[in-house]
């Protein structure tokens, strides 16, 4: 006869309500882990999207994501000629805000040369950019549809294709336009300012500047040798893909990562305290029954089993509900929530451990119950 099960069945409504409350808490813990993972994944999405091996940026910087970087537009030709490089492309990155259908949209603009590395890795709807000007491929999260016309700077762009999951480290959806358009958007002066520069004798200024050059390296060559070769030009710095990813995860999103990590740890501690209190209260409610069981001769292991089994049942049901809940709503979060099976398993193991440790408080109370409590009114 399983006393734990029978007791839970008798108080099923209250038990399920407790499990539901716990599931909300564990759901929040799981979502925090998912947000943490999402933050890292978002930070790496645009870096991984072009599938390159080497990043060439302005000398003395760790751009283009961690710091601002500007290099001459003809750098790509020089990099493309390095031994081992099989493809190279110039890229620009810039954050912009625009109005679309009356709503303000924050976007992360990627400028690339169609046919060269740097464009969207997969277009899920529509097509890639086919014209050299005023076409864009936007991520679904931007809220645009194929055919929409979106003003950017002094020009209006037509959405020709959609990507899925292409976001910047800040969570802003990415849009892809041609390098020429992005240079104009980023570097071209407004007409009054341009006229002023011409009047000063500086000409209109050149817009042939890029943030970085990215390169794919032949399997026969090593990215390190290409970066060393690129760094011989004194105005350039270069890093491998792995180094660029480290810059992003350990620099750009480091504080946010630590903040969320710490908050997750605090939530786990809070969960442990709440589970311990729930179990303690559940045991307090059963003092008379425990005293009766002791009086009629139930051994300690029966009492401990009763409390531990209920603790584990509560933890597992709470975790299960929480995981289901977060899986169901994760796509409604404004930023990406990445739920990985190993994180779920780790949290389940942590919850089990917390339940076992937390039930110690209830077990201690139960073992101290005097069987004489059952006697008398």
């Amino acid at each position: 006869m399983n006393l734990a099960y029978r007791d839970l069945r008798h108080n099923l409504g209250r038990f399920l309500l407790t499990c539901f409350g716990l599931s909300l808490l564990l759901g929040v813990v799981l979502s925090m882990i998912g947000i943490y993972r999402g933050l890292v994944e978002d930070a790496l999405t645009l870096v991984r999207s072009p599938a390159v091996d080497v990043w060439v940026v302005e000398s003395g910087t760790r751009g283009p994501f961690a710091e601002s970087s500007r290099i001459p537009g003809d750098t790509r030709e020089a990099i493309a000629r390095l031994q081992g490089v099989i493809a190279a492309g110039s890229v620009n990155y810039q954050s912009v805000e625009t109005l679309h259908q009356g709503a303000k949209r924050r976007l992360y603009v990627v400028g690339y040369e169609p046919g060269r590395p740097g464009g969207p890795d997969r277009v899920v709807s529509g097509r890639t950019i086919g014209r050299s000007h005023y076409e864009m491929v936007a991520d679904r999260r931007a809220g645009f549809a194929v055919g929409d016309r979106v003003p950017l700077g002094r020009n209006t762009f037509t959405v020709v294709g959609l990507t899925d999951g292409q976001v910047a480290s800040g969570g802003d959806p990415a849009i892809f336009i041609t390098l020429l358009d992005s240079q104009e958007l980023q570097f071209e002066l407004a007409p009054p300012a341009a006229r002023r520069e011409i009047a000063r004798g500086n000409g209109g200024g050149t817009t042939d500047t890029v943030n970085a050059v990215i390169a794919r390296v032949s399997p026969n060559a090593s990215p390190e040798s290409v970066t060393l070769a690129a760094q011989r030009w004194k105005h350039l710095a270069a890093m491998t893909q792995a180094e660029q990813e480290i810059v992003l995860t350990q620099s750009v999103v480091e504080r946010a990562r630590k903040q969320i990590g710490l908050f997750t740890a605090i939530l786990l501690v809070v969960s442990a305290v709440i589970i311990a209190l729930i179990l303690y209260t559940m045991t307090m409610d059963k003092i008379r029954e425990i005293a009766t069981l002791k009086l009629i001769g139930a051994p300690d292991r029966t009492i401990i089993g009763l409390i531990m089994q209920q603790a584990l049942a509560m933890g597992m049901i709470g975790f299960g509900f929480g995981a289901l809940l977060i899986t169901a709503v994760k796509d409604f979060f404004p930023r990406r929530v990445v739920l990985q099976p190993e994180d779920g398993l780790a949290l389940a193991a942590a919850v089990l451990l917390v339940c076992i440790l937390s039930s110690g408080l209830g077990v201690r109370l139960a073992l101290k119950v005097d069987p004489a409590t059952a006697l008398g009114g």
């Binding site: 009086l295 051994p299 004489a372």
Partner: protein
């Protein structure tokens, strides 16, 4: 009334004293109490509040160790230093049945399982435990309520289920704490008749704490306690 049988007593306590605290706060709950209860006897413990009745019941029930004196249950001396807490619990399970003032049935088990749980703890398999529990409920004329939860039982039915639980392991000693306090006089009489029947048929010793004057005539012997002392 049944005469004390010639065999050795099932409950035999000699010069038992129990005090709580020391110095100025010392309270002597029991002072040199000696009692003998024989198989088939139904005896009552009477006394005003604070006279030591519950303390004596706890001592006999292997819940409370006396400060001095000895306790022999079914010819075995307990509290002689050989007994672990788990041994005493085992002794309670095998030899002592408890009946409480407010039945103390486990609220999450139905009537039959409240009785069967004791048999399960004693090592009976589930089927055998249920069979014997069912027989006991029939014996106590509450077999028709075997699937009812305690909250759905009347006071008399609940107390009969509690008696069935106390009898489940065929204990030699039954300790009852105000077994009829929550019942009207008619049901109190029925419960006492049941206890007398059990004592006679199973040759058990029954010791009941009671204030209930309407059942005094149903006991073989009445022990009066006052200020922890037995009055003759």
């Amino acid at each position: 009334m049944a005469d004390p049988a010639p065999q050795s007593p099932l409950v035999h306590i000699r010069n038992v004293s129990k005090h709580f605290g020391e110095g100025e706060t010392r309270v002597d709950a029991l002072r040199n109490v000696s009692i003998e209860v024989y198989p088939g006897q139904v005896v009552a413990l009477l006394g005003p509040s604070g006279s030591g009745k519950t303390t004596l019941l706890n001592v006999i029930g292997c819940i409370l160790e006396p400060s001095s004196g000895w306790v022999k249950l079914d010819n075995e001396i307990v509290y002689d230093g050989r007994w672990l807490r788990s041994d005493l619990r085992r002794l309670r399970l095998e030899k002592i049945g408890f009946i409480f003032q407010f039945h103390n049935l486990l609220p999450f088990l139905n009537s039959i399982d409240n009785v069967a749980v004791v048999l399960n703890l004693a090592g009976y398999d589930a089927e055998e435990a249920k069979r014997r529990a069912g027989e006991l409920l029939d014996y106590l004329e509450v077999g028709h309520r075997k699937d009812a939860m305690p909250a759905k039982l009347s006071g008399g039915e609940a107390q009969r289920v509690a008696i069935a639980r106390a009898l489940a392991n065929r204990p030699r000693i039954i300790l009852a704490d105000e077994p009829t306090a929550a019942l009207d006089s008619q049901r109190a009489g029925i419960v006492m008749d049941l206890l007398r029947k059990v004592a006679a048929e199973q040759q058990a010793a029954i010791l009941a704490v009671t204030h209930d004057e309407k059942i005094f005539n149903r006991f073989d012997h009445i022990f009066h306690l006052r200020d922890g002392r037995l009055e003759t």
